[in-house]
Structure formats: C-alpha cells, structure tokens
Subunit: 142 residues, 4 copies
C-alpha cells in the first residue's frame, strides 16, 4: 500500500468511528500523508444570540482536521494539546474550511498547523496542534 | 452595585444570549469577579465510536468557563486565543466540571486558567485563555 | 531519602552542570517536589537601547525555574515546549523572580506554571511549560 | 519609500538599539515585509555541562527573528506572547538559523511562525509569536 492510499484508508477508519464529527455535519477531504481538510456550516445550535459561533465549534473543526492529518500513518495518534488564535468571528450560515498541514514530526511527536477560513477565504482562526503517536495500529488487519 | 453583584449580572446577561452553551446542556455556577465554573455531561453526540469525547467538546466547556470568568467586569470581553493540554479522555456519561480562575489582568488583556475535571476529580484538561476587553458595556442601561 | 531531600539533591545535580544559568547570575531557591524559584538581575547585556530587557531573557529565567521544578523526582526530565505571555517590560537593574509550580503530572508528562515578577511584585510574564520525563536517572549512584 | 525599503530601514533602526541581540552575536538577514532571519552560533556561555544549549537561548534567537519580522511596517510592534516546541537539542558550536514568516495580521495583531534549524537543516524548534502594534512610529522623521 503506498503512502497516499494508507492515508486515505486511515481517514476512512477514523471517519467510521467518529460519530461526533459526523453529528456536526463535518466533511473530510484532501487527505494525504500529514494533511487533511475539514469543513462544516455554522448552524443555529452553534451560535449565540448575536448569530456568532461559539469559539468552541471553531476549535472543534480545526481539531478534527488536525486529528485526521496526524492519523495518516497507520498508527493511532492522539491530540496532546493545541494552541488557537481567534482572528475573526464566524457567523450563522457561514461555511468554514479548516486545512491541516504537518509542520514537524520527530520521534512519536508531531506539530500540525491548521488554518480556518470561511468559504470566501476570510481568516477565522489559526490553530497549532501537538500530537503523539501510540503503538496501536489504526487499521485492523485484513 | 458591588463587584460580586456586577459579576453575577454579567453572567446572567451572557447566559441569556449564549444559545450555544444552553444547547450543550452547560450549567454555569460560582460566578465571581474573574471566576466561573461551567459543567455538562458527555452525551452520545459528543463521542466517537469508542465512547470517548471529541476533544473539541472538552475545549468548548473550558472555553465557556473562560468566557464567563473574563466577562465579569461589565465590559464585553472576547477570547483572543487559548492553549489546551489534553490529559485524559472523557467518557460517555461523565460529568465534566471546568473551573476558570483569573491569573492576570493588565490593560485590556487577561490570562485565565481553566482546569477540567470529572465529577470524581480526575483531571481531564488544562486550558489557558487569553482575553481582550472591548469598550462596549456588557449590561444594558436601566 | 524523603521527597524534599530528593528534590534538593536533584537541584544540586542540575545546578552543577547548568553552566548557562550560572553564567547569567541565576540563583535557585525554594526547591521542593514540583517547585522551584529562579531569580536574577537584568544586566547591560540583556537590554536594548531603551534599557528594556530582551524578552528572551525573561523567558530564559522562567524556563530555568521550570527545568528545576520538573527535575525534582530523580529522573532526567526535558522541556517539551512552553507558552509565554509577556505582561510588562523588565528594566535594566531590576531583579526578577520566577516561581515555578507544578499544575499537573500524568504518565511521563507534566505541566508547570511559572510567574515572573520584579522584586517589588510587579507582574512581568506568565509562562506555562510542558515537560516529559525520560527513563534516565538524574542522580548518579553512590 | 516602497515596502521592502521600509522593512529594511525598520530592521536597521531595530538593530541600532538592540544591544542584547548584538551581544549574543546574532546576525539579521533576509528582511522583507513580515519576514526576517536571525542566526547565531552556540557558545560556551549558552550550554550546560553536557554541551547542550539552554532552551532559553534557542527561544531568544527565535524571538529575535520574530521581533524583526513583525517590526517591518514602520510602527513599533511588541511581542505579546509566544509558544515554542523544542524538537531537538542544539549543541555547542552549532550555527542556528531562525526564519520568521508572517502567518496572519489582523487589526493591530499578528501571528508569526519561526522555524529554528541548524546550518545543516536539522530542525531544532518551532515557535509561534503573537504581536501587537502600538501607535508609535518606528522610524524617526527626517
């Protein structure tokens, strides 16, 4: 299995068990080794009385892209921590796109940058995730 | 109005407009100047196929406690950014309690530490939020 | 050997090899399990043309307190990363005191909060360090 | 004055007053709007007894690159905070190169990524700085 195929099969396995991301209407795309994109639309349950998204949902989208990006190598990899900078509010009905890209991998550790933008390209948040690989295989043996 | 009364009235005003936190079943308690506690129970929509909460929901609870704590001084204060360390997974049905405490306030800026634990006291996450006050009053006049 | 004695012996062993901290005139005090204080005075080589310390030296003091605090358990423990918030400038001649306190320890990982103040108690910076223990003993046998 | 010229004149003005960076033997290069590179060589005073650099000096180099990169627009801009991930130790005699690149600028705020490598290209640290512009001009008139 080549690296791209492994990455996509990992994403499929992640997705099958990630009911939380499914329930939020998140879509995963552009999966490759160390990369993934997650997107969703801000709905009524995610906003406050001024129609602005709770920052937790912006983080959740970025965290999902991060999780899919760092789990592309065939071993279960967990989120160790993350830093987020909130740049601009996200509004009800907006489609948000979070692109995760690997910045560094060393030993079992990884650093991933995730940029969250609206579909129009407006910057919403910058996220940096810290991952750690376990020794558990992500894909069950055929 | 004394400081504690102001803090509680701010929390009431925040709560009235925070539909997202209401929808998650979050409860706010122990509000005082620079402090607040948020708690909720991990439900089916928050977990993956192994009954472990998506990290985004743990962050969201901490972020909510942070938002209520930094909005206790009568002016609208926004989350500028945050760092989170995920310590242990949170499981389906667990009640999580996030206690936010002010660490520093300088100029319009603030630093708030939030510890997330299970109701049994097991540590789940450590969060540090960075806030910035606007010049908008949080409470409407008269 | 009790925990406090172990902590102090670890600090002595750390200090003996930490030429960089010695060269900066750092003093270590108040060492106990998960705790340490580092202090120094801002000198000419640490400041810019306006007599304000380079942020790197404020970080270095906090990082030193963190290193001594997380190395109090008898195993070599490394700094994995850190976040710092710069609150106020530190001036030439000021004495800075960095107090490190353990916030969490789980598996081989730790989270330590360090507050940097002037000797007058003015807040200069808030630092949060992330540590990871190795399996190497810190104290040589016999 | 075009943007590149402004950026370089800002760097010259920064350098003239930055005695701390001069004292560390730091060299600044590749200055452009939102970008700068800082480099130095790890010397005896920066290392511990095992000839490994104190993390504070690695941070300091990254922080310097960050400061020069965010001060390329003609207004005095301060470091608000930063996160650093230490990837590998830096050894006595190694030349380190820190490249700072702007990731986002919004209102008076900025986010800058700095990667620190050895001259051989080995990754040493990943740093993310948060800046805030003041209203003071960086270049004196006439």
């Amino acid at each position: 299995m080549d690296d791209d195929t492994l990455a996509r099969r990992c994403a499929d396995a992640m997705w099958a068990r990630d009911r939380a991301s499914q329930a939020l209407g998140i879509r995963i795309s552009d999966v490759a080794p160390g990369r993934a994109t997650a997107s969703f639309t801000i709905t009524e349950v995610m906003v406050n009385g001024h129609a602005i998204a709770h920052g937790g949902y912006v983080f959740t989208l970025a965290d999902t892209a991060f999780a899919f990006a760092c789990n592309t190598y065939g071993v279960v990899t967990v989120a160790f921590g993350a830093d987020v900078v909130f740049v601009a509010p996200a509004r009800l009905g907006a489609q948000l796109v979070a692109r995760a890209e690997e910045r560094a991998r060393y030993g079992r550790n990884g650093v991933y940058d995730v940029t969250v933008r609206t579909a129009d390209g407006e910057l919403v948040a910058e996220f940096r995730g810290r991952s750690r690989a376990t020794s558990a295989p992500l894909l069950s043996e055929g």
